[in-house]
Symmetry: C2
Subunit: 144 residues, 2 copies
DNA sequence: TATTGTTATACTCTATAACTATA
DNA sequence: TATAGTTATAGAGTATAACAATA
């Protein structure tokens, strides 16, 4: 007797959760036209999250080839969103970090996406909202 | 008094849920190399979900321009994944639907993504799993 | 004339290969 | 010799503009 909610098998839960998550993610991606391409925005977000990174590390993290990262960083630099510093110990290496302007843009973009989501969250009941608080923590663990 | 879980404001919940959802969606996107580009796979999934559609409807749903959809559908047709039928009432219109082979590919791709997720869900505690069952339903509502 | 879909053409983004500079 | 990053070049994928067929 602990059966509550519709009888949900493991495979059924996976399927429903996958659909729900990918759809919401798509909606969120559509929010906030930043003027940057997805690649640029994603690279900027990674640099901001991880901290100063070499181009090689960044290319690996973003799953693109080094020449592509050269161009992505050049474009971000051109917009004044990141700056590079040559490593003193190994002068082949360039470390990239966000500028104040880059951080500002990123926080603005995140703010817009959060606002879109918050507006929808506001329409939920208290219990539903509590469920999502718990679910957010579980989903975070899940994607590690 | 009633303080459980970390003190979560509306904005905080939005931010955390956004991160959790977008990360998990990214991981899921990386699963299952179907041999199709993201555009082709997405168009095929839409046709399968919505049912027979004209190229114009499909272009709107996928948010691409009509000439791009002409090419996407041509590529899918070339792979034997969709078929087109000229509308009898209005012979300008072509309706596209998945072939049996297209449906099979799609179900295989979804199966792989679900399996990836199910493997992770299996490692959760019962209560956490129950939370996600409820959350899946709430998230579905949220993205409508 | 208006609309659906296509063809022609140009642009953007990414990759592979070859190169430069540092180690 | 090996490695970090760049430049040269080519290949996908998309868009805008002009066109063909049907209404």
């Amino acid at each position: 007797m602990t059966t509550t909610t519709p009888p949900t098998t493991e495979a059924d839960l996976a399927g429903r959760l996958r659909l729900a998550v990918t759809r919401l993610a798509r909606k969120l991606r559509q929010q906030s036209p930043s003027g940057l391409t997805p690649s640029l925005l994603s690279a900027l977000a990674t640099i901001d999250r991880v901290g100063p990174m070499s181009l090689k590390e960044l290319a690996a993290a973003e799953q693109v080839q080094p020449p592509s990262m050269t161009r992505i960083v050049a474009a971000l630099e051109n917009e004044g969103l990141v700056s590079r510093t040559i490593d003193a110990a190994d002068r082949r290496v360039a470390r990239v970090e966000p500028t104040a302007s880059g951080r500002r843009l990123l926080h603005q973009v995140h703010g817009q996406k959060n606002a879109y989501l918050a507006k929808r969250l506001n329409q939920l009941s208290g219990p539903d909202r509590d469920t999502l608080v718990k679910a957010a923590e579980i989903l975070e663990r899940l994607s590690r």
